[in-house]
């Protein structure tokens, strides 16, 4: 059932899910908006109270349902609105990223970034660079439930 290394076809429309924490990166995304920065439209943001709310099952579900890239954006360690939320998220994501790579999923498909509410430009830059990375990697066929192919 294994597909050969996927060749990025022309009209491959990548799909990226971004989990943004309400206090920092979601506000950073808002600031990117007010500053009229631009970044690719295939990134869709889901608001969570804190990066520690992101359960690995959400990420695996996203890949299962056809996401080509998932990015978790939280507050800079030390700035978390809930004091320690992003510290737990950091450990969870470190282990998850290592395991996904161990299973053969391209390591760049899951990314963690710390973006504060004041870093509108950084948010746009991070999203643009992530979209380029995923475009280069092409469609994600690993961990994918083929029945969900749109």
């Amino acid at each position: 059932m294994l597909a050969a290394q996927s060749t990025p076809d022309k009209e491959f429309e990548q799909l990226i899910v971004a989990f943004c924490c309400n206090w920092c990166s979601y506000a950073g995304a808002d600031l990117a908006g007010t500053a009229r920065r631009s970044y690719p439209a295939n990134i869709k943001i889901i608001r969570v109270p804190c990066s520690c709310r992101v359960n690995p099952t959400f990420i695996l579900r996203a890949f299962l349902r056809g996401a080509d890239g998932v990015i978790i954006a939280g507050c800079h360690p030390g700035d978390c609105h809930y004091t320690s939320g992003n510290y737990f998220a950091r450990r969870r994501m470190t282990l998850l990223m290592s395991m996904l790579s161990f299973l053969g999923v391209d390591k760049a498909r899951l990314r963690v970034e710390w973006v504060s509410a004041a870093e509108g430009n950084k948010f746009a830059e991070v999203m643009t660079s992530f979209a380029e990375t995923i475009k280069a990697l092409g469609e994600n066929v690993k961990l994918r439930d083929l029945r969900c192919k749109k």
Binding site: T57, F88, M93, T94, L95, M99, G104, R144, L146
Partner: protein, 326 residues
Amino acid sequence: MQKIEQLIKEKARDLLAAGQVTSVIAWQKGEMFYDNAPGYFDNTEELDALVYNAFCAANLSKYLIANTKKDEKTAVFLKPCDTYSLNQLIKDRRVQREQVLVIGIPCAGMVDINKVKAQGLKGIIGITEDGDNLTVETAYGTKQVARAEVLLNKCLACKGSAYAVSDETIGEPMAVKHAPYDRFAVVKELESLSPQERFAFWQEELSKCIRCNACRDICPACSCEQCLFDNPESPLAGKANNNSAEEQLFHIIRAYHVAGRCTDCGECSRVCPQGIRLDLLNRKFIKDINEFYGDYQAGADADTNAPLLSFDVDDVEPGAATKGRE
């Protein structure tokens, strides 16, 4: 190990007779001589079915969950590696410590019957232990086999003869003799492969999974009242895999849930009917935890905080695991 079986029987008889405990958990004869099953004894008559020999690999600690729910006192005989699992269950409050009488019993390493057969022996009738060797009686004559060559994989990573928790002990501690063994060797080998090769390996390995849940049911670290996958309310409910992605999903999530709880007792891969190397997933997490957050042996004691339930302000950044590697 014969002598120890005798001591265990006597101990069990005394405990039951004195009414100190209402039941005893040990091993009992199974269908085949090498196929012993966990045994539950609540009266002295049944005790002669009790056995303790080279084929008692089963980790009995998980059976205490059900027992300690009833207000009865239970005695359990645990090998050194099983005691780590009991500590973890106590930490997870799945076992009431005061309702358990833990009796530590020595172990010289349990034998894998498949490895004995792999030595070209056919028609095996029985195996007796003497010193570092085993005498294998077959329909075509007897043969001596070195115990070290036929040990279970999990015994190659033996954690030593010390008991992590015990009220009493029986017999003298025994060392498990085996060739030098790095439990992370295969993990490191897999890490050095390309993502394509790794994906192919796991695709192949996990596609054998028939979702019999044996690994989940035997695992002492996997002790939820109602598992996520059995809970109709949970978005991930699902008894069978509809395709490979769900297989991988089940095993990644299970490994993730026991990360920091898994004592590396090796039961999951031992009981897996399809022989999937599930222990590699757990060992990958253990290797990462040791590398990033300091060596941690789950169940070594009943109170240090599990790695995923604590943090350090200057932990490594998430990309660290795969820096400099494909």
